[in-house]
């Protein structure tokens, strides 16, 4: 029975170890959580401070003494934020819509139709997935310039449409649909197009939603291509807009107003993410790297 005390000690140390471990884990997770959230807190906080009170705080304060919404007003009046927003919206919606049509047709052809050269075409497509954007952007820039499409939506949108990865993602999903369904539709004299829209798209809706969300995030945040192709502020997207504001807007000093702009820019995607949380995370983990 001398063993018994020994066992008690083991049991106790196991319990203590577990509690300590949990505390450490939660502390670690919370620290990172704070590091993630803090910039968001700081931008909101700074955006409700008035210009004068912000500048008078040599030592920054963690709360606003007299919160004001003035900065949000000036964000839409002093700089053309509304226009940047509208541009981004037009760019995002058009690009995503065209991308979706192109992707669905291509994925359908790859997944369900038989034609000569299909395999080679698909392998070429996969190979294109490896090509870094930076490599093709040089020529695209020259092309768009030659076509005199700088500072046009067409110039912004056209090279941003195709994403080989999304074709691949949707093709994989479409390929999982049993061929019997296709033959059944053929027997019922359904046209390919009708079959695609009435049967396949509804079945693949989750993947399509995922693709749309990923593309919207990509478009909303795109910066490099718009920066190259637009120098007329009338065609700036928000990323370029924020850069323009930072360098030339608000007399370059009005940090609270800039923060208000940052908040306004950040909110739509964060809301979209919170609504479609699972879809976004699933889509991203299936292979979407940023950019």
């Amino acid at each position: 029975m001398t063993n018994q005390t020994d066992y008690n000690r083991i049991k106790q140390s196991a319990t203590v170890g577990k509690t300590v471990g949990n505390v450490v884990i939660y502390a670690l997770l919370t620290i990172w959580g704070v590091m993630v959230l803090f910039p968001f807190y700081w931008m909101i906080l700074s955006s409700v401070k008035s210009y004068s009170s912000y500048n008078s705080e040599y030592i920054p304060m963690f709360f606003a003494q007299s919160p004001t919404m003035d900065n949000y007003v000036s964000a839409f009046t002093a700089v053309p934020l509304g226009r940047y927003f509208a541009n981004t919206l037009i760019f995002t919606i058009t690009t995503t819509a065209v991308m979706l049509v192109v992707t669905i047709f291509a994925a359908f052809a790859f997944a369900k139709l038989n034609f000569r050269g299909k395999n080679i075409a698909f392998i070429l497509c996969l190979a294109l997935m490896m090509i870094p954007n930076e490599l093709v952007i040089v020529t695209n820039y020259v092309t768009i310039t030659k076509l005199d499409m700088r500072n046009t939506f067409l110039g912004l949108i056209l090279p941003s449409v195709t994403s080989v990865f999304y074709i691949y993602l949707l093709k994989e999903n479409l390929a999982q649909i049993p061929d019997e369904l296709y033959y059944a539709a053929k027997v019922d004299a359904t046209s390919d197009l009708k079959y695609l829209f009435k049967v396949m798209i509804p079945i693949c809706k989750p993947t399509i939603i995922t693709i749309v969300i990923l593309k919207v995030i990509e478009c909303w945040n795109s910066f490099v291509w718009p920066r190259l192709i637009t120098d007329d502020a009338n065609y700036f997207l928000i990323s370029n807009g924020i850069q323009e504001i930072r360098e030339n807007g608000f007399g370059r000093e009005n940090i609270p107003a800039m923060m208000a702009v940052v908040v306004v820019i950040s909110i739509p995607l964060i809301i979209l993410f919170l609504i479609f949380r699972n879809k976004v995370m699933e889509g991203v983990s299936r292979g979407g790297t940023k950019g």
């Binding site: 884990i25 590091m35 090279p159």
Partner: protein, 296 residues
């Protein structure tokens, strides 16, 4: 059969057009550009073919600065972010309460605009006439002197750039590793527990090998991503990265194309191809190493 033949290509046509015009053609073209010497974008003429563009780029101090910056960024951010993500994912996987909340919070940087949030980081780190900035406040609390992280010494700027890059890439890594960890069959952990395996040994001998394919995937994508860093630097230091000594290879390419120093697509092409070679080399080395260490 013949009819089907045409039909398939018909569906593929839009994709072929877009890809052909904006990916395949540019891909070929960029090589051609890179060997055309003295290309003039206004007249679209050149007066020779050779490797002068490459030699120019490789001797350009701005490019060398960009290469140095990019390499430092890669070497610091990839291991640190992967290691930190592993730590956080392991923690995340061992808790039940609040797990979803933490996961949601951790993912937020992914859906934010790099340029916009970069501005927040800038004001947190920047030292101005009005304020030393919040980070310097913390440093002062611990008895350190204020540093200007945005316009100050090289290492301070590099620190902010690395820090911001890590902040931006963490969500993806945490997401991937969390699901990789969750997919390890719990029976292995039970087996290890019955055998009296310590927590650390279980982690290093069972968990790590099991998720090693995912870790290597993250390292490779991390390398590629870091080699292509650009927006993060712009977000922190503005568009004139050469002046800030914070340019990256991709930044150099864009500067050669456009802006004050722009108008040289040939140099840009050469730089882009050098970047491609760098990325390919590193990826190959990585795959070779991973072949040796992945257990499946």
């Amino acid at each position: 059969m013949d009819k089907r033949n045409n039909k398939g290509w018909l569906y593929l046509l839009p994709a072929v057009l877009f890809l052909g015009f904006f990916m395949v053609y540019p891909l070929v073209d960029v090589f051609i550009y890179s060997f055309e010497e003295g290309y003039n974008s206004a007249s679209q003429t050149y007066f020779g073919v050779g490797s002068y563009n490459y030699s120019y780029v490789l001797h350009d101090p701005y490019f060398l600065q960009a290469v140095k910056n990019t390499f430092i960024l890669v070497i610091i951010t990839v291991p640190v972010s992967t290691g930190a993500a592993l730590l956080i994912s392991a923690g995340l996987n061992s808790i039940k309460a609040l797990k979803k909340l933490y996961q949601t919070v951790y993912f937020l940087p992914y859906v934010t605009n790099t340029l916009a949030v970069g501005l927040v980081f800038m004001i947190l780190f920047k030292k101005t006439a009005y304020t030393d900035g919040l980070i310097n406040l913390f440093i002062n609390w611990f008895g350190g002197g204020s540093v200007d992280f945005i316009d100050g010494p090289y290492w301070a700027k590099m620190f902010v750039l690395c820090f911001y890059t890590i902040w931006i890439v963490m969500p993806f890594k945490v997401l991937i590793l969390t699901s990789a960890l969750a997919s390890v069959n719990p029976q292995y952990y039970n087996a290890a527990k019955v055998d009296g395996t310590s927590k650390i040994r279980t982690f290093t001998r069972i968990t790590l090998p099991m998720i090693s394919p995912m870790i290597f995937y993250l390292i490779i994508t991390g390398f590629i991503g870091a080699f292509k860093a650009y927006s993060d630097a712009v977000a922190l230091f503005g568009t004139d990265l050469n002046a800030a000594e914070m340019n990256t290879i991709v930044g150099y390419i864009y500067d050669m194309l456009y802006g004050n120093s722009g108008g040289y697509p040939s140099y840009a092409s050469a730089a882009a191809i050098i970047l491609l070679i760098l990325v390919l080399t590193v990826t190959c080395i990585n795959s070779l190493i991973s072949k040796k260490h992945i257990y499946y």
